[in-house]
Symmetry: C2
Subunit: 233 residues, 2 copies
């Protein structure tokens, strides 16, 4: 009899469609996932309830929610009282860095994941970045992730010991939203538990008009499926 | 008449000898410095009082103290109840990563500095890492800093606009502690305001025996100077 020791992995889990799908992929690949979420001053902090439910439903080994204050810096409509853009077309979304970009957010998130990975002895970090839907976000691009991985491999004890390199897994990076949802459905992700909207009602009802709602709804429609989340508009 | 608009720079300021010297260098180089310090669960949080005094004495444009909880992860004697090593020789200090190493700490600090720099429109970040005294710390090595800079230049809006690159300045990286203190004294740094000890008394008195105290005291002795800080032992 062989004991099956699964390798630990840190999985960034916002509670949205993408990160829930990434969590299911990490499990499918045989990792023992440790979910990491952030209360960072986002107006849509209700996504953390979704993260808890997704983590529980899929079955993670551990889940930590880290408190950080990105409102202290400002610079984003997601962490200020500035209005979130509504009703934009895909072309408008693709034109430049949107106001919903949070300065250096993925860099900060990955840095906490790196710290936790080092303490856990994990060499694998999963993040649900996507280059197609987020063309305007600098920290969703493959070249950024590659550079982060290079840096991470020099940043920790492992980097001084010539050990196997640390890997930043981005299984969704070249997928369309349709492909992401199809992948998740095949892995039994329950998307009714996820929260996508940038500007939800207090009870979690999605606005239906922000960029994130737009992309999500369109993908469910293309799949000929009914999105299980309620929308205001 | 030409108005002299100084370029903003984010300067990581712990309140110790190295970061105080870096702040004086950034000022000397003509930057408008924004000091950034962290309350991260360190046992020597009294260094934040020193950071405030150093920032005020040298004259910074702004100073933010960010609350982050690195105790949540553990993995270091600086952020847990594990004893800090005392009375070690230089050879002992150079042998491997010490227990006072905090997992991914500089990566997390630099990531917050990157976020603030982006919001300020700053392209310059200063950090007082030193490769000689901290041979055991992976995130004090030149190759790590170089990789971080590469990543940072892809991580933000600037990275998508082909603008001038962001620079991580490490003016102390190849200096001895003697050279650092000599440089700071030439720039009017008041080292009586700084706090170096990993395990100080509540009133700020340094232990005199931890690695950080050892390196500091030895440097003042080599310079033939009296260290203006009080020591317990």
């Amino acid at each position: 009899m062989t004991l099956n020791h699964k390798a630990p992995a840190v999985v960034l889990l916002s509670g949205g469609v993408d990160s829930a799908t990434v969590m299911a992929i990490a499990l499918k690949q045989g990792f023992a996932p440790y979910a990491m979420s952030f209360r960072y001053g986002q107006r849509h902090a209700i996504e953390l309830d979704a993260a808890r439910q997704v983590a529980q439903h899929l079955g993670v080994v551990g889940h930590t929610i880290v408190d950080i204050d990105l409102r202290a810096f400002g610079g984003s409509s997601l962490t200020s009282d500035e209005a979130v853009p509504k009703g934009r077309t895909l072309d408008e979304m693709a034109a430049g860095v949107p106001s919903t970009y949070v300065p250096a957010r993925n860099t900060i998130f990955l840095s906490y994941a790196l710290a936790w990975a080092e303490v856990l002895g994990a060499q694998d970090i999963f993040i649900g970045v996507n280059a197609l839907d987020n063309a305007g976000y600098p920290d969703c691009r493959p070249e950024y992730i590659h550079a982060y991985e290079q840096m991470a491999n020099l940043a920790t004890r492992l980097g001084t010991e010539g050990k196997q390199p640390l890997r930043i897994h981005t299984p969704l990076i070249q997928m369309t939203k349709v492909q992401i949802i199809q992948t998740g459905l095949d892995l039994n992700v329950d998307y009714s538990l996820t929260s996508t909207c940038y500007d939800p009602e207090p009870d979690g009802t999605a606005c239906g008009l922000c960029d994130a709602c737009h992309l999500r709804r369109q993908a469910f429609t293309e799949l000929g499926l009914v999105d299980p989340k309620p929308y205001r508009a």
